[in-house]
Symmetry: C2
Subunit: 432 residues, 2 copies
């Protein structure tokens, strides 16, 4: 088929009438498919059911150092959990704090603490006239929601295939001391599924921020989430790189087992420098007596060690790889050569990113919704929900079953074609 | 024996030399006993080991409304957990939010959120020149640590046998709009073990604070923690009472199962009015996608219902009642009639409060420490750790085994007698 932009008004009209007839048939099916969020599917959750058996009433719930995990204490987590998460995050256990069930919660609390008490003795951000964050775009809506909630001004920075545009990042942090942080999903990014290149990570570690309390919020949510056994992205470990570059305190690194075991009942962690650790503990000791150590022990006993976790992640990959491939196959089959959009083909993570023709994303998502397919709202990948091109759509393939997903993607590509053809037609008619 | 204050210099000297000889013998034993914190003992923890069996790999982890507890979602908690905690807190499930493993964490987060975002649209406290909290004294050190961390000025209010001195509370909150809150442990209070009288609760509900964003922080930590089956304190439910008094939004009520199941792995909750709930959810939705629902389900399946929890609390009482009685018996045996201190005999909770002669508490705790008995630091029960009378000591009987506890209390009363006799002797010699 001809690319849409090259079609005549007549050809577009014919195409549209066919597509609309097809849409009516699809709509009549009364589908209800939700692919709005990056949630594991039931089959994935079932992989961790063994975790419900590793502790029972006959278990010794004492950890290596003799602490009874059932009682109070161990503010920074039990040693064996710090070791496991350390191996997972590629950091020293002593640089790890284990938290509760949500790394998002740790990020929120971190912003909140810095807002009220500042970073390592610097002025609390609530006392500053303006605080800005760099937001690589498209990015993760829940990151943007946190900074928006605190009234932090978000400055979009374009993403490239190797990470954020580092020329812009370097210039902005060097010149503007009101820029206090940047949100990063460095591996299998949300929503692109790309990973920061070696050069990008090295340039991050060598940033020269004007603000002494500038911090990189490094949300390594998908560090273990490869789709393939051999084709894998590699990400340079940022803490070590920052230390080498003489910027040991510049990064807060977050991770969790939410998409490894259970999203509601995993364990979260931060890895950071000793100075930052001290800063974290200074508020943590007032906030809690300790996080859920029984659940930490449950995770350790379930995985045994990092090799157990890697094996476990292979099983996840086996379940979701076909879904990613199905999405990509449908996009390829229905849209290749039409010049009606582009998409990513990631090697890991939870998302595929679709970019439509400018000004089409909202209409595509709305049209899909009317046919029973719920996508992540258009605009969600941008700060304040405002995508200036109205082109970016996040596709989350993991949750629906394979057959539903295929149906949903067929409806999606149909909607892309309808909205694109309509838009091009209107443009051609206006130009005529 | 004669009361110490009535003894002559000579009598005190004889008493002291006997006591010191006894102390030397005790010190030679090289004891190591920790009664510094209100921790359950191992036997108590063992009561909840059945909770490790209620969920296994064959369990259906779906809750009543069809939610898969393993996955994301259910921001305010699963319904059946809200029902159980609602029964425990005597509140409607719809007025309950279930949190993670720590009510202290909920209190910290609440202060933090109000600090950054204010109460229901009022000015964030961080923007005010001064914020004060009323602190009934003696009180709970971790409460005071939170308010101190946020730079909130703490105003002590004396406790009476029926709760805080309400004449003072009423006057201060009515006259001073910088007073934004009060910390309360209304039932089996920390450290006295007393419960607020009906009149006290009614007067709380009828407060007329100058500050529209004044809130009562009602930490009902020991609501279920009776020592006896029939002799029990009764506390009027504050939310209902506030609603009746026309002050529905004035109270945040906190509780948890930390001292019911496992201190590290329980579930915490807040109960509050619909307006406050909305306020809480407005930040919670940015802070997390949801708390640990598997653990919520585990608690529900373990207890079945509130009757199951009440039965469970009877078993706790059977373990710790003899400890409270042993402490009281030793205090009575060694100190009755000496006029060297007073103590409480609570019907529940985790603590017994001891009041020494003025100016003796620090020395008593230090002397006990030298003989191997660690008490809660003197002063801890006062804001900023400063007990103006240096007389208040918190006794935590639950953690040590009964025989250790008896030994520890014998050392404690010995130290009380030594320090009191020394002090009286010095006074008499100075006066001579």
């Amino acid at each position: 088929m001809k690319p849409y932009p090259e079609m005549t008004v007549e050809e577009l009209n014919i195409e549209l009438s066919q597509l609309k007839a097809q849409y009516k048939r699809v709509q009549a099916l009364g589908m209800h498919l939700d692919m709005s969020r990056g949630k594991p599917c039931q089959e994935q959750l079932d992989l961790s059911m063994g975790m419900m058996d590793v502790l029972d009433s006959s278990s010794d719930l004492t950890c290596e150092d003799g602490t009874d995990c059932r009682n109070y204490g161990q503010l920074t987590g039990i040693h064996e959990a710090r070791e496991l998460l350390g191996d997972m995050m590629e950091n020293n256990p002593k640089d790890i704090i284990i938290y509760g069930n949500s790394s998002l919660n740790v990020m929120f609390d971190t912003i909140s603490r810095v807002w009220t008490h500042g970073v390592m003795g610097n002025t609390p951000w609530c006392r500053l006239p303006e605080v800005k964050f760099l937001c690589p775009v498209p990015g993760y809506d829940r990151h943007f929601a946190i900074t928006e909630y605190f009234g932090i001004k978000m400055v979009p920075v374009p993403m490239t295939p190797t990470g954020p545009d580092m020329d812009i990042v370097e210039k902005l942090v060097r010149e503007d001391e009101t820029i206090k942080g940047i949100w990063c999903v460095p591996k299998y990014s949300n929503p692109q599924g790309i990973s920061y290149s070696d050069e990008t990570v090295r340039r991050f570690a060598r940033l020269e921020p004007a603000a002494p309390d500038f911090r990189i919020f490094w949300d390594n949510a998908y560090g273990m989430h490869h789709l393939y056994d051999h084709k894998q992205d590699y990400l340079i470990e940022i803490l070590a790189e920052c230390k080498r570059a003489g910027n040991p305190d510049m990064v807060y690194k977050f991770a969790s087992t939410s998409k490894i075991t259970f999203p509601g009942s995993g364990i979260a962690a931060i890895a950071t420098s000793p100075n930052n650790m001290e800063d974290f503990v200074s508020y943590l000791k007032h906030q809690t007596i300790g996080h859920d150590k029984v659940n930490q022990l449950r995770h350790v006993r379930f995985f045994g060690d990092i090799h157990g976790m890697v094996e476990h992640m292979r099983k996840h990959a086996d379940i979701i790889r076909p879904k990613f491939e199905a999405v990509e196959a449908t996009l390829e089959r229905d849209l290749a050569g039409l010049d009606a959009g582009t998409w990513t083909c990631p090697l890991g993570g939870y998302f595929i990113m679709f970019d439509s023709l400018p000004g089409c994303a909202k209409d595509i998502v709305a049209l899909a919704k009317k046919a029973g397919v719920t996508m992540t709202p258009a605009g969600a990948t941008w700060p304040y929900g405002k995508d200036p091109n109205d082109s970016n759509i996040r596709i989350a393939p993991t949750y629906p079953c394979l057959s539903d997903l295929k149906t949903a993607m067929e409806i999606f590509t149909l909607c892309v074609r309808i909205v694109s053809a309509k838009k091009l037609l209107a443009e051609k008619q206006a130009a005529a």
